[in-house]
Symmetry: D2
Subunit: 336 residues, 4 copies
């Protein structure tokens, strides 16, 4: 169950109630939620009637979700997240676009121009790149963050970029509007804890062998650390099929919507691995009810240092955006 | 390569050319194609210039596709298939709907009424049911076929139903407009050969562990036996995720469109396994560019004898059709 | 539950009891078991006490296994199967070896000589080959069966070969000592029914996306048709890993042993897809407690018409057999 | 290629050669290898003859392995690793046993007594536990490390335990003989870099969706940071089969042996998820040629705080060890 304390309760109050619960056989976890304190209690036999009578308690939610904070029992309305004036999760559709990796000021500027002109919502670009081989290009690091910040200033586009280790989170959060956790790090719990304390919205990619429940539990690590601003990102799971790089699991969209109040974004580029599938999968994500997409776009795909095969060119992206707007329109939505 | 003989060539001509090819080290396969004879030659070192000069040869196509007949090299334009006056694959969108299994005249009539009133294209219903357990309901058999034929007459809806063994194909083809090959039978080569000779369009479901290439090779078995009217049906692949019954692979839509000229239909019901995901996945299939969907609809889902969890109710189906028509409209398409 | 009738009961008795059960709300299935009649009843609310009092009933087994005939509830002791004087499943270890496909009398004789000299138990060889592509070598068909029968006579080795469609089963059963059902056909129910009536032991390969439960249910189709002589064969499942052709699931050995009384054979060759892994996996299968292995051996692997990469050479096979005998010996077993 | 510098070369020499390579279009990576400096050069067009003539160069190895340091081209003989006087990888067989998580001094002592009396090689026990849910028991942390160190002193057993974030590595390395990287962290590159600098042997578990090549590349991250003492640990991959927790991929043993000189250990407990399969899979691992196993053993499995279902009891473990020694003996090996 989730015990929500009254507004004026402080940390000490939470500690006292937790102690009381422990004395009655409970296993309480204290969570610093924006504007109030929560106590999660997994023991089944705590008396709810007793709890509700305590003056310090505002609400008791009897959730048996394995992921109580991200579950619909705790919060029935869908979460809306604000990023630099754009609202995500309220029926608008977020289009995050940009290069897989930040390579240079020129590349970023040229790609951002495409993103702006296509009226997409945000700019993506990796500064720290988790790469399968230690001998592959690892990203520009802090220099990449600086270039992103520059481009944000110039173009006005909010920026999403990835943090790949706990000690980078603070720096990434300074430069970025949204901090991304990559698929390989979905169960990097130290990293999840850090982004849970970073004060920025988080884009949490699904691990390539993660069930939807494990993914929601990863979101729970972020939320449990005090950050309710989690966007889930479906980016394909690993299967036997090799014609695409991963298998995009669009059923995750209605499933997540049913189980959780968190918004869900789809990454057609990394799942497909080849650009020709990306327009189809982008439209499919919108039609399936996702809250947005994150798409690899490059001013010159053939020369990209990372995942060149999957980046849309300027023309491909613009044409996809036109179709996307039309599909969204008949579903009563529009690009954020 | 594919060697197309001139219109007036007959089987004997094909045999003679095949013998000639063998004498030059070839491995020719003769295919009876509608209106002409084809010879498939997999040997690499046959002289094309020589072949083209033969008076009996109309065309030589240098395909190196592992699946030459279903490949875009042999036929660049998309295949269109006519079913009882409806054309599939020409930009219209096929909606096949009906119960998983035919249970009774009443059930079929009630469900067909829903299908008709929602303006779907065709009626589905299993008479022969392949079931994981020998102790599950196995379908009504020929009695089910008779009920389908009756309902076709009454409602005017063309009918799709499954054949599960070679010896049933002829009977099924008598009653049905389209003969379905189920996922479990995708590599049942004797069955593929029979449906290749049955004279009816074939709906070929993807095997649950089949790669897209293996699926196209299964289509090749049907085509190779003389039947070019194959509709591919993506129905989800088996993965580790258990929140849905199978994982619908919508990337298969653009991939199949690129590799093959055959139409591709999507089955959101069997992939999802639960009805709540079906509307989302239906719209996603349309947006991804599929040529149609096949959807489980039941007049009373709770009482269905087979796959009850995944059938849409009448209301759910009608509401899905409304959204579907609107998405199709902005993509310049409409339900067949 | 499984109702075993007394020895002198006949089909009519079984029919009468089935009718009685139906009148009480049951769903009885009559099974012709060697030496007696069985009735499987899946309804939960039939009164066992009443049944046990009927003079025609010898035994009532309250199994709730989804696969009652292959389950340990019905038969606690492990099934032993006799093939040409060799017993399988009693602690001996079966080694079936031979070429993937029968190619010629010479190839078969040369490979059989290797099999004999290595003291393996049986000869394998495909006459009907299920191939992914219609343009691949499809086996020699009946001519291949004749060559196998000839070689059996000459070498004294019992023979295992595959049936790929229902109408071939009778012919295959005439020539072979054991009828194989391939992985692609594990859910080809018409074929399972035929081999269930063929009077020969059956080697039932696991489908490449089949769960262990689905595999036992496939065995149940064979047994349900009257044939208790089923050997299960684990041959690898399809996963994301491509370094081996399939992923051999050796945990299936203890799992099957726990759930079922049927013997389990392991196919290291088809799972690995490359010969260098086969010796390791053969020893592992023996150590894991399997009842045997089926191994691709070819007198000249480089020239094999089918699956050349995975066949052991004569020397490799003999050396593997030496190690195998030593591992079996310390586990109190030996090659059959 | 890998350029090995002469013994007396120092970091400055390596830097100078790297600069020279860069000036010729190369992309050198400097690696501090025990006793010498290495330079990895991935550019294809560097002149080897020129390199070999440089007095600072001792050896040039023309590996094109994606994982050059862990590949057999660079080092053809198998790596041997010393842990507290026991050698791993030289034909002996390592048995690491102990509880999934350290729970208390008493539990650890009781389990260590079982490990000692069964003559296993090392003690395992998790102090930092990566858990899918933030609400599950997370391990005792540093207190768990202290208990392990105490028990090591008392029992003389070397200790393996896991580090789950970069900042813990130094502490874990102080207490443990071998530092484990768990499956979830196989691509946690910051963690891999830290364990690459920790001076202790590393047990690197395969990620649950990692290909063998990705796993070797993860090892490469550790080695590239200067630590050649990597033991790979196969612990099952995620597949559709749910009868076991994961699917143990024993083919990984011969494949790793062929591609790499690193030792490979097998974890039957985490792959199976249930104790009854563990004895079979332990023997299978030994027969397949693995260099060891890591097994969950608990003095009282029913009360275990973590993964209770998979722990062997004292009796089960001892009896498995007896069988294991016998299988190893006939293969010319014995427990380390």
């Amino acid at each position: 169950m989730i015990i929500e304390l009254v507004d004026h309760a402080d940390h000490e109050d939470a500690e006292q109630l937790a102690a009381l619960l422990r004395s009655r056989g409970g296993s309480p976890h204290i969570v610093r939620w924006p504007g109030r304190w929560l106590i999660l209690e997994t023991a089944q036999d705590i008396d709810e009637t007793w709890l509700r009578q305590l003056p310090i308690v505002a609400r008791v939610v009897g959730s048996t979700d394995p992921h109580p904070l991200s579950g619909r029992k705790f919060q029935s309305v869908s979460t809306m997240i604000e990023v630099a004036g754009r609202w995500i999760g309220d029926g608008t559709f977020l289009v995050i676009a940009g290069p897989c990796a930040v390579e240079s000021r020129e590349q970023l500027a040229a790609t951002a121009a495409v993103v702006t002109s296509a009226k997409a919502s945000m700019l993506r670009g990796g500064a720290f790149k988790p790469r399968t081989s230690p001998y592959s290009f690892q990203g520009l690091g802090v220099r990449g963050l600086e270039l992103l910040a520059e481009e944000r200033l110039r173009s006005g586009l909010p920026v999403v970029t990835e943090a790949i280790q706990p000690k980078d989170v603070e720096t990434v959060a300074e430069y970025a509007d949204v901090v991304q956790v990559g698929a390989r790090n979905m169960q990097n719990y130290a990293l999840l804890g850090e982004v849970g304390r970073c004060g920025r919205p988080v884009l949490l990619k699904r691990g390539l062998a993660a069930t939807i429940q494990e993914w929601l539990l990863a979101a729970e690590y972020v939320m449990n650390a005090g950050n309710p601003q989690v966007m889930l990102c479906e980016r394909g799971i690993r299967t036997f099929e090799t014609a695409s790089r991963f298998t995009l699991d669009l059923a995750a969209v209605p499933i997540v919507k049913r189980l959780s109040h968190l918004p869900i974004i789809v990454d057609p580029s990394h799942s497909a691995g080849r650009a020709f599938m990306v327009p189809s999968l982008t439209l499919a994500a919108a039609a399936a009810g996702a809250d947005g997409v994150i798409v690899d776009v490059h001013n010159d795909p053939a020369s990209a240092l990372c995942d060149a095969d999957q980046a849309l060119s300027s023309e491909e992206f613009k044409s996809t955006m036109v179709d996307l707007e039309r599909v969204l329109a008949v579903l009563g939505r529009h690009v954020a």
